[in-house]
Amino acid sequence: MCSEKKKNRDTIAELLHGLRNKAFITGSEAVAEAVKRANVDMAIAYPITPQSESMHLVGELFAKGHIKDYYRAENEFAVMAAVHGAALGGGRVFTATSGPGTLRAMEMFPVWAGARQPIVCAFMCRGVSLPPSIQPENIEMGMLLDTGMLMLHAENGQDFFDMILQAYLVAEQPDVHLPVGVFADGFFVTHTREEMLLPPEDCCLPPYDPGFAPVPVFDMETPPMRITRDPLLNKSNFISGNANASWHQEVLAAAERARKHIAHFMGGLLEVENPGAKIFIAASGTAVSQSREALRMMQAEGMDVGLIKIKSIRPFPGSELSKALEAADLVVVPEFNAGGWLAREIRATIDRNHRVIGAPRVFGGMTMPPWLIVEEVKKALGAGQSRGGC
């Protein structure tokens, strides 16, 4: 249990960089382990596969006294509205959802950002209807890119654990104060048991202090009393139009200011392996793990290939990518969705973007064997050679 007396220790450094013990747990269990250490006041849940198990475990945390309030709400839109209400009231909240649940709740995500709520939500991505799919797929991330929410993408259970804690740290910075979605590819991460390193149970985040929020707390204890903390209604009036626009700009600016905190708490928005390579695979989520394997296979064949793991999708590491790919001839972007949102983001960011190959793309429950990635790289190289170099 997060003990009150430990409030004054440098718990953040200890939590992120202190001693850790081995645990052999699933991604869903990792979520609960993170929430246990996050000093969460309240969590609200609604079932959807593959997210449910993690929120069952969060419910057990409530039953054991780790969380002060918890309930099962009537649908995902209601959940996201209720955590919004709870965050307005000045506390730390947690929830999670998945695929169709994300879409059903969609209206609330820009509201969270617009109201500057430091809500952390875990998204355990899956396919969306129609045709119905409960298979791993992260198309929902492409649909959330412009909600104003910050977005982190976990490669595995360890990332999922760490990123939930890091998400609170970034979200609650006074110059950020925005919601953070922590995304993991459902089933692959949620239902896979792996060895993780966890800090001791009583090593927790310090409690949330609403006094540091850049917006007034909604509790009738914080002046001004005449406040509407939510996105301003934009009627046909020049002044309210301007107020709305400048508020919106500030939400975007807050996301930009998050960059330095992501760098500080997470060691950067991306990670580069073999930076001198001419051929790169750039990926996020579990596609990174598949790409690591593909990399090993290609290196065994004597190919000089590098890997870029993108951890932060919003803010997007545009300048970092441009720099890392400056001398690259080819960038292959494997994805677990049909839309190819990551390839689109990278193409929109770097110059000479004909270098970007948006493949392979798997969805609807297909797996991504590493040879599929290797094939795409070779195909692109072959095409490049026939064109006279890529």
Partner: protein, 288 residues
């Protein structure tokens, strides 16, 4: 909130607008004032931006005047005509997405109970018929099923006012409206009856033509929600603009409704009745 929070330091008081200074000096905070005292204290809302003769604006004004503790009241609503008065009221007002008011209120009330375990923070939903009976009906009902300690006040103008006069689930059967070009073909949604079934410990149906009765209903609803569970007040607030009657006739229309389809009705659980007897014994009986 303590009055100290809004009291300016003496040397700066003169730069604040007069209505703010009035609120500090003559406002309802910490006093037991209500509808019967209107005119003798500074109200927490004024200068509404609604159409002339708007029933909603009167409903908002009366309900706000009846709050037992405006200094610790937080209002949650949804976009619509009610927004315009509420967003410029001297209470914290939240208006987020469409129809989610009872969910936002549930989370807010619970968090305030965590943060202020020894204080009553009254969370009041105030929204129109479209927000409560149509787009937000599931969340309204579920907050009642769960027994959330919040009060829900419907400002029922029987139409979507702000979007230009479309049919709402609370419009009367047969009424010709936008999106009901041949007349509404089903009855008013029985939200009042549903409130009783869904677990509200107290409910009242009133019109703006009976201000004291309205005030008493709102007061009872909020005080009972503090201790016992969800409460519901449904206020008839006719809309001259979309129902096409003269703004001067609003009260007459409301009065007529009071003797036809909007007759006053109240329900309460036994526990609520006992609580009311104690509370109103303490306060001195409020006259109709």
């Amino acid at each position: 909130m303590s009055k100290k929070i809004i009291t300016p330091v003496a040397s700066l008081a003169h730069i604040l607008p007069e209505d703010y200074r009035d609120l500090v000096e003559k406002g309802p905070h910490g006093k037991s004032v209500g509808i019967k005292d209107l005119g003798s204290f500074k109200e927490i809302t004024e200068e509404h931006p609604h159409c002339a003769g708007c029933g909603v604006s009167l409903g908002v004004r009366l309900a706000l005047a009846a709050l037992p503790a405006p200094e610790d009241t937080l209002v949650v609503g949804t976009p619509g005509c009610s927004f315009f008065a509420l967003s410029q009221t001297a209470v914290n007002y939240s208006n987020t997405a469409f129809g989610n008011q009872n969910s936002v209120a549930s989370g807010l009330k619970r968090m305030l109970s965590i943060r202020y375990p020894d204080k009553d923070k009254d969370v009041v939903v105030m929204a129109g018929d479209g927000g409560i009976a149509d787009i937000g009906l599931d969340m309204t009902l579920h907050s009642w099923f769960r027994g959330e300690k919040i009060s829900t006040i419907m400002l029922d103008n029987e139409v979507y006012g702000n979007t230009g006069g479309q049919e709402s689930g609370m419009s009367p059967e047969g009424q010709v409206l936008h999106m009901a070009p041949k007349g509404k073909n089903f009855k008013k949604i029985p939200v009042f009856e549903m409130a009783r079934t869904a677990g509200c410990v107290y409910g009242a149906r009133v019109t703006i033509a009976s201000p004291k009765r309205l005030g008493r209903a709102v007061n009872r609803a909020i005080l009972l929600a503090r201790e016992l569970g969800p409460t519901y007040v449904q206020i008839y607030t006719p809309c001259p603009t979309n129902m096409k009657f003269s703004p001067a006739d609003t009260i007459r229309i409301a009065k007529e409704a009071g003797s036809t389809h909007y007759a006053f009705e109240e329900f309460m659980t036994e526990e609520a009745a006992l609580r009311i007897a104690v509370m109103e014994g303490e306060q001195g009986k409020i006259q109709d």
